[in-house]
């Protein structure tokens, strides 16, 4: 179990490093996804399967997808074109695929060991987390929901494409 932890930690570190070094946005995004997945695996090794699942679903799934959408919407013109071209080059794939392979191997090893490892004594399953969530942290949950709502409203309002004339009017006033 420990070596699984080390492998995925290494993967996480390398992918995070790659995220920062990348010139291209999409590549960085991909590396970021891998980094999140590796952290999910670490959660798994730590006996927090619920957190790992959440990580994969929300973090890697929702937030990263959001990033991709935004990058798509921005279609950064010349840069986007250049990206398409580079995308095609296989060389770029080696980095993420190798890291993905290592993670895959990690996961396979854990699964091979069987559930025993996973459901260790001090595994904190979703039941515990759920009870805690709606026990003492009830106020926190409510707050979190309000935060999300605010984020939703903010995103909607700020994200609106301003009509041409509205934009012009804003310019003149400044």
């Amino acid at each position: 179990m420990r070596d699984a932890f080390y492998i995925s930690a290494a993967v996480a570190f390398v992918s995070t490093l790659m995220v920062i070094i990348q010139k291209k946005v999409v590549h960085a995004l991909l590396y970021l996804i891998i980094s999140l997945l590796s952290v999910a695996v670490i959660f798994f090794t730590l006996g927090a399967p619920f957190a790992a699942a959440l990580e994969v679903i929300i973090y890697a799934g929702a937030i990263m997808v959001l990033f991709v959408f935004v990058v798509m919407m921005l279609n950064l013109g010349a840069e986007a074109a250049r990206q398409e071209k580079s995308w095609m080059s296989p060389r770029m794939w080696i980095g993420p695929s190798v890291l993905a392979a290592i993670l895959l191997a990690d996961m396979l090893v854990l699964l091979a060991r069987g559930p025993a490892f996973i459901s260790g004594g001090n595994v904190v399953g979703p039941k515990h987390v759920g009870m805690a969530l709606f026990g003492p942290y009830l106020a926190g949950v409510e707050l979190a929901s309000m935060l999300l709502l605010a984020g939703l409203a903010g995103a909607y309002h700020l994200g609106r494409r301003l009509k041409k004339e509205e934009l012009a009017e804003r310019e003149t006033r400044r």
Binding site: V19, A48, V70, V71, L148, G154, A155
Partner: protein
């Protein structure tokens, strides 16, 4: 003890990830990259919480992780909306162009 993953190593990892994220925010000029680095930092924080929770087998760690994730989601959505606005206005994603609040 099955999960003999020592907490210190976990925290070191969290720390490393956090610092990498921080470096990312400082170094990169493209606003998208900055947002991504912030995500890394948030994730690192969440990792630290979960590690601590696992260490004492308490659900609190994961609960905090969930809160962080909720916050991160809200933050990203608003952040990206602002990025869109910035892009429409300035036609660039360079964060230094938005240095109006100066002096």
């Amino acid at each position: 003890m099955i999960f003999s993953v020592p907490m210190e190593e976990g925290l070191v990892l969290a720390w490393v990830l956090f610092v990498t994220g921080l470096v990312g925010v400082i170094v990169r000029r493209d606003i998208i990259f900055i947002l991504m680095s912030i995500e890394i930092m948030l994730n690192a924080a969440g990792l630290a919480f979960v590690i601590a929770g696992a260490r004492w087998a308490q659900p609190d760690g994961q609960v905090m992780f969930i809160f962080i994730m909720a916050m991160a989601a809200a933050e990203v959505s608003v952040g990206l909306a602002l990025v869109l606005q910035l892009y429409y206005r300035r036609k660039t994603l360079d964060v230094d162009s938005a240095s109006g609040m100066k002096g």
